[in-house]
Symmetry: C2
Subunit: 207 residues, 2 copies
DNA sequence: TACTTCACTACCCTTTTGTGTAGGGCTCTT
DNA sequence: AAGAGCCCTACACAAAAGGGTAGTGAAGTA
């Protein structure tokens, strides 16, 4: 039985995570708290095997620091950092703090359970890219498969003509997709798009 | 007196590093070996305070792994990883191995001593970008100050007109610099340049 | 002094990107 | 059957980027 602590400042999220984990008989949610600062207290009073910790803002790194402290004092407690932040540098910080795994809220509940299982087994699960859907300036719309392919091509430095050959579509179609991508993201040029996508490591939408 | 071990497969480099450190009375080079695999043996036989470890290729990560093992068994031994590889992902791996600091060979000997001093003091020194001069596809020529500024602007997604305003030069001058940059790097478009520069974190030439 | 490098400007011309509009075929859903 | 979403295509036009050549002035160097 894995004893779990949930840390998330949103009540809705806490309850959602609790439901997800409670569905699996292998997990017991012993507490679901709001503040990362209290996480260590929870660890002291009860032996926690796994912590799901949400960190929402890049400025407030208190969650990351708290994770580092807990990991130092309770090395056997596994910590999964969760976020919806499209900042790759944040992943680095989380990794440096000693946390075990990383999870995006956007990935759905099935994959969360999978990450939990693998983490409890001792595996450390880290993505090497953020999913493109997390792109900061994107509208609520997601991208179509074709648009993702075009973004991937552009991020490699491909010109329209290169994309024409790579995807076996006409130049007009390439322009059509690029136009929609720029519309959805709000960028004015492909250069802006690529600078952002590559900088924040938003290449692979798969985990 | 800081006891130093130098690991570098190039004899010329070993001797250069030895000269640099021997000039400072605070350092004693106890050994200068060729292979990272033997570094641990050297640590066993003699108490090493600081290891300067060169890792030359991205494929062969034995140096990184050796650093990880040594750091685990001799946590008080400081390790500085050195490279001339223009791969940012490599920095991440070195960081993950537990090494303390990072140094580029291109930075000159004075800064190596500085990094050594700071590392011995307990500081961990890591760059957040690779110098642009290390760009892989660049010709032997370096970039002029103005060209670096233009590259930096492009890497932020700036259009020619934006650069015009940012640097207070005419559109023709922007084109002139971009043309020279593309010539020196061998890239065909600014998009290619930016994808590469941002991907490998080649933005700031300063340490 | 003569030579080189760098930063800057200008003009012309070609290629590539970006924008708008318009339509066909396909699949999935209501 | 009708509508919506996606992928594809086409054409035309505007804007930006890329390439060549050429010239000026300033600074440093042989």
């Amino acid at each position: 039985m894995t004893k779990v602590l949930i840390v998330d400042d949103s009540r809705v999220s806490r309850e959602a995570f609790e439901r997800t984990l409670s569905a699996d008989p292998g997990y017991l949610v012993v507490a679901a708290i709001e503040n990362a600062a209290n996480a260590e207290i929870a660890c002291m009073s009860d032996q926690i095997d796994l912590i799901l910790m949400d960190v929402c803002t890049a400025d407030d790194e208190s969650g990351i620091r708290a994770a580092g402290k807990i990991k130092k004092n309770y090395p056997n407690t596994k910590i999964i950092v969760m976020t919806s932040m499209p900042e790759y540098s944040f992943i680095q910080k989380a990794k440096d703090s000693g946390s075990d795994s990383f999870w995006y809220k956007e990935y759905g509940e099935t994959s969360l359970l999978e990450i939990c299982n693998r983490t409890v087994q001792g595996e450390r699960v880290w993505p090497d890219a953020l999913p493109v859907v997390m792109i900061g300036l994107a509208r609520s719309d997601e991208f179509t498969e074709r648009e993702l392919e075009v973004i991937r091509e552009l991020a490699q430095g491909s010109r329209y003509e290169d994309i024409t050959e790579a995807l076996h579509i006409s130049m007009n179609t390439v322009k059509y997709h690029v136009k929609n991508i720029l519309l959805k993201t709000g960028f004015k040029t492909t250069l802006q798009l690529v600078a952002e996508v590559v900088e924040k490591r938003l290449i692979l939408p798969k985990y």
